[in-house]
Amino acid sequence: MMAALLVEDLTVHYDTREGALQALRDVSITVPEGQIVGVVGESGCGKSTLINALLQLLPENATIPAGRITLEGEDVTRASTRRLRQMRGQEISVVFQDPMTSLNPVLSIGRQMRDIQYRQPGSGAEKDRRSAEMLARVGIPDPVGKLSAYPHELSGGMRQRVAIAMAALMRPRVLIADEPTTALDATLEVQIIELLKELQQEIGCAILFISHHLGVIAELCDRVVVMYAGVAVEEGPVEDVFLRPGHPYTIKLIECDPGRLKEKVADLPAIPGSLPDLTDPPAGCIFRDRCDRATDICATPPPRKRLNGEHWAACHHARADAP
């Protein structure tokens, strides 16, 4: 199976006054053609850095000392600026977290949608027709009328639909969804997820879905990558990872999900401790300091232990899934 997006041993550093901040370390992610892959992790685990690296839109002080990002067989870390611009939008596209800020406030929806089709042939009227079609497809009532509306005239859910329509307009091969439901309420969340599923079927694109919401990932994704402090600690098919987690961090993360609590509790479960200092990460396992299974062996870098088929965890203590 060919991968639409292949991230291999990607490392990203930010130059700061305190030294190189290692935002991502040896991250590998495979997004197979036409599948939905979730990336889950708490704030500061490197999700945003990952997105910016995939788009090659990292800030000026970022460097990529190692690793490769292959999009449809092409290494984007080596692509020219010109080629990158072509790839963005056409082959890879993003839906951002906050629909309140991801649309230009002074341009009408139609103008913005016409704008991103500038590489396509066709008259303005034709582009407007395509825009309206896409708006209709993402479930916006009166799509032709909405072309002349401004972002502030739409509700948050509508705006996120517009943002999705814009991202899907060029029929990209890979769609990155950066916590697209975090800023929306629960009923909209379900609708947006259904919409992403439908679009993925229709366009046949792969989706890299970034979220800290385990329930959403379980509902939507085929595969999931668990990230902690810039390191991918576990990866595999969703059922395997969520039902038989191998890495202690994944186990804790699932225990902390308030959605799985059946009774009212005084204190929500939490993982004690905090993220390590990424300018000087501890040697060996990154989760060692917060892990209750840690032993002396954890001071050495953990291997990626294959647990079952495509399911692996980067932990010395991980055991293969029971048959």
Binding site: L57, R88, G89, S93, V94, P105, V106, D115, I116, R119
Partner: protein
């Protein structure tokens, strides 16, 4: 396609403040353009018999110390005021717009260099700088314009820079870049329209300031050459005889007040209408 009431002009017409402002500005512009036709007297003609005449049916706003008709001179003065204000604001605005966007978009060192430059210029008090420059340059309207440009473009530059900077890091610009928009497309299609709103408001609010700078410089005797009927010169003449003939000063100040009110109100109405989020109706 778009109904008139949805265009900028249509929306401005629905705003009483804007209508009032535009009426004043139209009055000023028309009277300046048609000054030669409307003026009952030659603004330069001296009539020593009728010196210091109070307002009458012959001299609507009285005459000055040389018997020149104040009303006719104010009409001519309107031309000077509008010419200086529009030229100076356009030039300084364009310089400020370009430098401000460069500072906002360019590398850090360029931003710092331009900011230092802006702050240096803004540190000089306008009138002191005007006096210094007037001492170096021949007296005339172009000197007035140069003084205004030098003292005011830094303000546009700063406003545009701040806007550009905050827009550059906003999510929708990142979204545009993620969709493959080129640098030029981002600057001209996405940053510029967002910057133009505050920019035009600032420009409209600055027009009366420029008119007062010209009047002030002429009042101090470093503006227009003697004999030119600028509003400031009329004020200066009136000031000398304020005890005996106050009407010269009063009529000289009237158009200045009107112009200030007109352009300031227009600026405020523009601010309400150019920003789609502040619009009440569409």
């Amino acid at each position: 396609m778009t109904a008139f009431r949805h265009t900028l002009m249509g929306r401005l017409m629905a705003d009483p403040l804007a209508v009032f402002a535009m009426a004043i500005i139209a009055l000023l512009v028309v009277s300046a353009l048609l000054a030669d036709v409307i003026a009952p007297h030659d603004p330069a003609a001296m009539n020593l018999v009728d010196r210091f005449s109070p307002p009458s049916s012959t001299y609507w706003m009285g005459t000055d110390n040389l018997g020149r008709d104040t009303f006719s001179r104010l009409l001519q003065g309107g031309r000077i005021a509008l010419y200086v204000a529009l030229t100076a604001v356009t030039i300084s605005g364009l310089i400020g717009l370009v430098l401000g966007m460069l500072a906002g978009f360019g590398p850090r060192w360029l931003d710092n260099a331009l900011l230092f430059f802006f702050d240096t210029l803004r540190a000089y008090p306008t009138i002191i700088l005007a006096l210094a420059l007037a001492a170096l340059m021949p007296r005339g309207l172009s000197t007035v314009i140069i003084v205004v440009v030098i003292t005011s473009f830094a303000e546009y530059g700063r406003v545009v820079r701040t806007q550009t900077l905050s827009l550059k890091n906003s999510e929708f610009i990142l979204a545009e870049r993620a969709m493959g928009a080129s640098f030029a497309r981002i600057v001209f299609h996405h940053i510029l329209p967002n910057v133009l709103g505050p920019f035009f408001i600032l420009a409209a609010m600055n027009l009366p300031v420029v008119i007062t700078i010209e009047a002030g410089m002429s009042f101090l005797g470093i503006g227009v050459p003697p004999g030119t009927p600028s509003w400031g010169a009329t004020l200066k003449d009136g000031f000398d005889y304020i005890r005996t003939t106050p009407w010269i000063l009063i009529s000289g100040g009237l158009p200045l007040i009107l112009a200030t009110l007109g352009f300031t109100f227009l600026g405020e109405a523009l601010r309400d209408q150019l920003d789609p989020r502040l619009r009440k109706t569409r």
